[in-house]
């Protein structure tokens, strides 16, 4: 019997389906080998290799977008589930990773740090996030999530000479491990109740999402299952930084190296929402009477907290972290709306894409403006940026405008789509809070733009203006190209969401 069972299991393994992840893992190893065999003078080639290979993987993934999941839906005995959403997220994470590597070339040059491990970890984390977005089984889910999280512990504390980076790493470690434990306990409870064959729908494979959903449908209102669901949602809420699990965000975002902050802000948040969508829309659907109120309260509180706390910030990394909390709130409205309005899922993907373009434009500028102390990036450092570095200032203005949701830019279309979906789903109170939040956010985003375009004017404090010591790195050629691409696509996607928008919304 065991031999046949193993053969059956092996026949279900579609290794071709996870080629991109395998390629990323191999590339990560290749980078370490390259460091050993290349002479020291040529180590600059390593990030180039990382970026080029990722571009190749991304292009081939895009070309094979629909072929990957034409045959079987679930592979590896139900561990992974291939879908159009999963394909989109894979591409999304790859693009994130490419930009993080680009930012890494700018930021790491200012520190005396080993370089190669950074790219290695970024690739491994990206592969794990790609698997996470397609997981269909709690074991796969947990292992992929932990690979991402443990990788991020290292990346956040990567500048190990800087006490601030280490402190951020420790805080992220404690908070991340706490949330993982909550999540794990939730998984265990769900596994336990759903595996009880005495209950209707109890299954021997109760960690599989489809089986679990079958159990939840058969047993509405089971107490242990409800506790499990709440714990799992709490764990996920930690990852996306929703109130009341947002306390780690400002400190960690400030202390982490700028490229890592960008990675956390965009890719990690997108992974959190991918997971949240899988769980709420596919697995926990029978328990929506429990899930929707919890999410609604969190979404409202998240938007208000993020925007109000960002108002008084002067450190730009904390500011972008806190404003990121409010973006998570808008996205959560989309998740709630997705219960009644299928359009909302596409709206979330569009919003995340716009957020990616705008965020990386802003982080790209931040990486250039930052001095050697990476945690110390104040609004004052941006004084007169427009005169000295008009190119960076223009990119910054477009990025921040898109984040704020100014009409012709992509961020506006993203917010509009989410709000339309929420309106169709009838979430009027949340919609009101969200619109209020957007109005508040314009104030602090414009404060930043103002700091960049006008001489620093201190608010009535009467102290002498601090001499902002800005050591602006010159913008290298291909980073310049990348920043232009980000800004232009932010504008184009706002004016003409057409093909991309339809394609995303069609899913």
């Amino acid at each position: 019997m065991p031999i046949e069972l193993l053969q059956q299991a092996a026949a279900n393994n579609e290794w071709l389906a996870i080629t991109p992840e395998l390629m990323l893992g191999l590339t990560a190893l290749l980078l370490l080998v390259l460091e050993l065999i290349l002479p020291k003078a040529k180590h600059g080639l390593i990030p180039v290799a990382a970026i080029v290979i990722q571009v190749v993987i991304a292009v081939s993934l895009a070309l094979n977008f629909n072929t990957a999941f034409s045959g079987t839906d679930t592979v590896f005995n139900g561990l992974l589930r291939l879908s159009a959403d999963g394909q989109f997220l894979r591409l999304f994470f790859l693009v994130c990773s490419i930009f993080v590597c680009l930012l890494g070339t700018v930021s790491l040059a200012k520190q005396r740090m080993p370089r190669v491990e950074f790219y290695h970890l970024v690739l491994v984390i990206t592969a794990a996030m790609m698997l996470l977005a397609q997981s269909n089984h709690f074991v796969m889910f947990f292992v992929a999530l932990e690979t991402v999280t443990v990788g991020f512990y290292i990346l956040v504390s990567y500048f190990r000479e800087s006490p601030l980076s280490l402190e951020a790493g420790l805080k992220y470690l404690v908070m991340g491990a706490l949330s993982s434990s909550l999540l794990l306990f939730g998984i265990v409870l769900l596994y336990g109740v759903a595996g009880n064959r005495g209950l209707p729908g109890g299954s021997a494979d109760s960690m599989n999402f489809d089986q679990l959903r079958g159990f939840l449908e058969a047993n509405p209102g089971n107490f242990l299952a409800s506790v499990g669901i709440v714990l799992v949602l709490a764990g996920v809420a930690f990852k996306i930084g929703a109130v009341p699990f947002q306390i780690w965000i400002p400190d960690v975002y400030q202390g982490a190296p700028t490229p890592v902050t960008a990675f956390l802000a965009v890719a990690s948040k997108a992974a959190g929402f991918a997971v949240l969508l899988i769980l709420t829309q596919r697995v926990f659907t029978p328990y929506q009477n429990l899930v929707i109120p919890v999410l609604a309260v969190m979404a409202g509180a998240t938007i208000l907290f993020g925007n109000l706390a960002a108002l008084t910030q002067h450190n730009v990394k904390r500011l972008i972290g806190l404003s990121g909390i409010s973006h998570a709130g808008y996205l959560m409205i989309g998740v709630i709306a997705a219960y009644r309005e299928p359009l909302a899922v596409g709206a979330i993907w569009f919003y995340l894409s716009a957020y990616l373009l705008a965020s990386f434009a802003v982080f790209g500028v931040m990486a250039h403006v930052a001095g050697s102390n990476d945690a110390d990036q104040e609004l004052d450092h941006y004084a007169n940026l427009a005169k000295e570095q008009p190119f960076l200032a223009a990119i910054l203005a477009i990025g921040l405008g898109s984040l704020a949701g100014i009409p012709p830019l992509a961020g506006f279309m993203g917010k509009l789509l989410i709000f339309v979906a929420a309106f169709k789903a009838g979430l009027y109170p949340l919609l009101a809070i969200a619109v209020g939040g957007v109005v508040i956010s314009i104030y602090y985003y414009f404060g930043w733009i103002k700091a960049a375009f006008f001489p620093s004017s201190l608010p009535s404090g009467g102290e002498p203006a601090p001499v902002a010591t800005r050591v602006c790195t010159p913008v290298a050629g291909w980073v310049r190209v990348a920043l232009i691409v980000l800004a232009v696509s932010s504008v184009l996607l706002g004016f003409y969401p057409g093909a991309f928008g339809q394609w995303v919304l069609a899913h």
Binding site: V150, P163, A168, G195
Partner: protein, 101 residues
């Protein structure tokens, strides 16, 4: 006396709560770290108990994954704590507050 599923669950729930409040209330980073591990172990206990009483092996297999993940977490975590102690000469939570506005 035979322990049933409920006894195991209560015990693991208690251990989990102990770890959780330990993380929130203790001041020494190393103790916090031990509390985090306690939470993982509590989950593991519940997992094994469920696995035994449901008659499926999935839970037992999952335990191996959890142990591996926990080991990786400890390796990274202790490295961070040691590096931080070298810089700051302290691992008390209330003194690690450089990241403030």
């Amino acid at each position: 006396m035979n322990a049933g599923l409920n006894e195991y669950l209560v015990l693991s729930g208690l251990l989990f709560a102990l770890g959780f409040f330990g993380v929130l209330l203790r001041k020494n980073t190393l103790v916090i770290f031990m509390c985090l591990e306690l939470m993982l172990v509590a989950s593991t206990l519940a997992l094994v108990a469920f696995s035994r009483f449901n008659g499926t092996l999935d839970g037992d297999v999952f335990v191996f994954f959890i142990l591996t993940v926990a080991a990786a977490e400890v390796a990274v975590g202790l490295a961070i704590i040691v590096a931080l102690f070298r810089r700051r000469q302290t691992i008390q939570v209330e003194e690690l507050n450089a990241l403030k506005n």
